[in-house]
Symmetry: C2
Subunit: 410 residues, 2 copies
């Protein structure tokens, strides 16, 4: 892909409202652009990373018997009256009227809609369990939108809903999704800790959050450095300096960015919305539900927060927008195009074909953060390219004819 | 994929408000479910078809130098004041206020947002041309939402915007996208005609629509049966019975469903929104724009309208949700599972693992419309399966061990 065609509007200065590193970098590297407070456009580099995260999410969900669907953003007031949340939710729920003065909200979450979808069809235990998810745009009118994609008003989430006959089956789904989430974040290159949490506006019986450790996190958590679990600050089981009953490591305190959450909803929505089924013994029972969210756009933000310095992103391999960045300097433009076409058969290649000074090209390449950089400069006279492995900043002069072999050996 | 896990809530009766065949079939076959008037959920079979259409759209756009991005649904009033459309657009524009009483609309189209995104960065002819598209959810408060996905209030569209230095470059993009659209609809299994149209609420200089011929179309068009072009009813160049100056065929009249449209916007938005660049001769000029839409959800609907009878869809190969439908009858459940796992390495396979009578399974399979059906019934005693090619309703008894070879030879 040619950089001139892709549209990568890099900036010298971060927007003045960008308070955290990931926001500054996502804006400067041309991945996002603010359209209104808390409302962002994902530019071509940004959407490529998001789509890679989405692919990992789909694979880990599909492999566990979940099915994808797509629910609407517009949700009628009636459904929210049934659950009682029209009144309970508060001003974060964006509300509007249609041309006939009927009330709608823009979904921050989809418990009502999914419950209405399955209640008409799931009449018997034979049709259970069921696990349905979507990757979809959500709305939440935050009082103080900030930190770029961390606290936005329009954002991309994956939300999964499970429907079980009983608590034991819900427990199985809950454990399954805890594993799935651990795997999704690990594959996305993120280190996360799992924290027990309260159930908030969603309601229900039990909940956990997945936290990315980061100095810009909004929650303080206490965790053991050798295991996956952590606790909220208030949570008494762990205290800094102690060793935890379930693990061997040291207890530490840090800030966390919440990238995922899982909830045992129980029968809160099925009872209020009349979603019942007939069990094997002929009894009419409410569906037992769970819900499981991942902030897709927030995961993108957290990945940048964890994998960057102030002037440079360095993408994990699994979610990098491109694998190889070819940067031809003056006089090597044609060679750059030929090399791009050669390597593009095996790699995702970005070619900096802009008419810019070397300093500008290198600075932008640092910002954009592609793991392998191939500089076509003076050494092309000897048939060689300068290959930079950005993971360790090692530079090798590699014969241009051998680049495929060199890269595939890495 | 197991049908019990996928969630395919087939219905015996179509919803009472389903006036057209595609709406009845999409609902009965468990592809969509209405959440509010003109607002639909895409169930797992529905989203699979949509994603296949989206893949074709992405391939044909990426191959022509277009880059994908994702813009927000929430659009601030300020931008629409700049273009003058806040007042012009009328009640189809869904409007809302945020918690601080600031005005927003839910985007029915994104000329304002994209113009604001590129105007800050495109300062020179060196950065042009540029072609940016998204596949995104749009909102339009139709006075009479109807015909299912045909006239919805929330719908999925692909919208592309091109930015050129001059009219000649816009003409090139316009011609390129006309070819791309023809190819996209052809690959999706749809027969379309191209019709010159007026520019409506979008504005601009010239426009064409892509029409799927269908008795439920909302527009009447006059077309030549041997070429790609057609005309609106009002358009005087063609009249029924005549032979057209540009083609050899016969002129006919039919109804059309608009699935795509392309507009030469010219400088309407760039002049009103101050999106200027400096040309090679140092002159400051407004960007010359084009916009190009495809109704993704409407394409799904039009495909069903063209490829179905009243009780049965028959998907084109390119967008079918699955290739092979295995229907095991009583006693062949285990064989069904084994065959599913075998064939799933080479095909997209749906297994009807439900505990239902043969009549129910066959009726649902007809509804769902997968091109190849493998029935595991009596003949499994002789090691054979009944293979139905739904394109011609030909039935073959094929040894179960030879099914891979049989299917790959088709």
């Amino acid at each position: 892909m040619k950089q001139s065609v892709l549209y990568v509007p890099t900036l010298k200065e971060a927007p003045s409202n960008a308070e955290v590193k990931s926001h500054r970098l996502l804006a400067r590297a041309g991945l996002i652009k603010q359209t209104a407070a808390g409302v962002y456009t994902y530019l071509p580099l940004g959407i490529r990373v998001m789509q890679k995260i989405e692919r990992i999410i789909r694979e880990e969900h599909d492999a566990r018997g979940c099915s994808e669907m797509l629910m609407p953003a517009l949700q009628p007031r009636d459904l929210w009256e049934e659950s009682g949340r029209w009144d309970d939710y508060g001003p974060a729920l964006m509300r509007l009227k249609d041309r006939k003065e009927r009330d709608f909200c823009l979904g921050p979450t989809h418990e009502e809609v999914i419950t209405a979808i399955v209640r008409d069809y799931i009449d018997s235990y034979k049709k259970l369990p069921l696990a349905l998810y979507q990757i979809q745009t959500k709305f939440r009118d935050e009082l103080r939108p900030r930190f770029g994609l961390m606290r936005g008003r329009e954002f991309v989430m994956k939300d999964l809903y499970t429907f079980s006959t009983d608590e034991a089956d819900l427990d199985r789904w809950y454990a399954t999704m805890m594993t799935a989430y651990t795997e999704i974040f690990r594959r996305s290159g993120l280190e996360t800790k799992i924290v027990a949490s309260d159930t908030g506006e969603i309601g229900g019986d039990q909940a956990h959050e997945f936290m990315v450790l980061s100095e810009v996190g909004e929650d303080t958590i206490t965790y053991c450095d050798t295991c996956d679990y952590a606790a909220n600050q208030e949570y008494s089981a762990l205290s800094e300096g102690d060793s935890c009953p379930h693990c061997e490591g040291t207890i530490k305190t840090a800030k966390g960015i919440e990238v995922g959450n899982i909830f045992k909803l129980g029968t809160k929505y099925s009872e209020s919305m009349n979603a019942f089924f007939t069990d094997a013994d002929g009894q009419r029972k409410p569906l037992v539900m769970g819900c499981y969210g991942i902030g897709v756009s927030r995961t993108l933000m957290a990945a940048v927060e964890q994998h960057s310095t102030e002037d440079s992103i360095l993408w994990p391999d699994s979610i990098t927008p491109f694998d190889v960045h070819i940067v031809p300097l003056k006089g090597n433009e044609d060679l750059g195009r030929r090399l791009h076409d050669r390597l593009a058969t095996q790699h995702e290649v970005l070619l900096d074909d802009r008419d810019e000074r070397p300093g500008v090209k290198f600075k932008d390449a640092d910002l954009i953060g592609i793991p392998w950089r191939i500089i076509l400069g003076k050494s092309t006279k000897e048939g060689k390219a300068e290959v930079v492995n950005r993971r360790n900043d090692e530079v090798q002069l590699v014969p241009i004819d051998d680049l495929e072999v060199y890269l595939s050996g890495q």
